[in-house]
Symmetry: C2
Subunit: 168 residues, 2 copies
């Protein structure tokens, strides 16, 4: 089954990570594929590396993608992330597969909507989680579970900067 | 600062757990207090026990609370959870404190709205996360960050039962 966490509120990637934690505790095998997050030293990645039953693949570069002017390498990395996603799902080795920020990669045209929809065609018993703002209507329609994380209030509005251990 | 994850969609507790994972990876000290979840062998609890820098306190009983007919012990356990929450925040020992399902405890009158609002009065540098449906308007107003997890679609609607490693 395919779960989508989308919307403009805080909690999409963390919800997927919490699910990873839960699955790992139940003895399941987890794969985390991060689109556009390579070389970031996220606290959560450090924590997850303590577990044997998880494989983590990061794509992208250390620099943030400029959605109005993506570089050649941004396209290449997103395509690599997509290819790895297909391979991982087809391997049938995992119970839970998280495709972190794939929705944003589509919105920014680093990969196409058709690319994302093709993932739904792969036969697998794995639970697949797709995160990121901007999930397309076609994706929502095909998914089995969709939660919209809706920002009601955010401390960014008060000028609070991103904080280590909370935002990354 | 106080973060609230509420709404009827999947992802509230898991978002808090993902945040715990992130904070632990950044060397921070975490406390998880679960209202109404005692004796449940959740996968996530098993995973979190691998970390040294987290303390976990569960309250409630092994049986689900009947919101229309709560037992004496349900009130007692919720009050204990509330007391522990205050103590833990006042101890200044933690960087992140998660009060899991506290919003539901208020909705079901196991503790009062005033009890929950008093937590906002405690002076602390810790990040506090409150989860659960039904967060009251007064709580949302006082919080620094609020995400509503909105159910757009859920596989329960298709008759899929709860699954180990995914729902618990």
């Amino acid at each position: 089954m395919i779960q989508i966490y989308t919307g403009n509120g805080k909690g999409k990637t963390t919800a997927a990570l919490g699910l990873a934690l839960r699955s790992l505790g139940s003895g399941k095998k987890v794969c985390l594929i991060q689109f556009m997050k390579k070389n970031f030293l996220y606290g959560e990645i450090k924590s997850l590396r303590n577990f044997e039953n998880i494989d983590i693949f990061q794509f992208g570069t250390a620099e943030l993608v400029d959605p109005n002017n993506p570089r050649k390498i941004d396209f290449e990395e997103a395509k690599k992330a997509l290819k790895k996603s297909s391979e991982v799902i087809q391997s049938q080795k995992y119970d839970l597969i998280i495709l972190d920020e794939i929705n944003v990669a589509v919105e920014w045209n680093l990969i196409s909507l058709e690319d994302q929809l093709q993932i739904f065609q792969i036969t697998t018993a794995a639970e697949i989680v797709m995160t990121g703002r901007y999930a397309r209507q076609e994706v929502l329609e095909k998914a089995d579970l969709v939660t919209e994380m809706k920002e009601i209030k955010h401390y960014y509005q008060k000028g609070i900067p991103v904080r280590k251990g909370i935002e990354f």
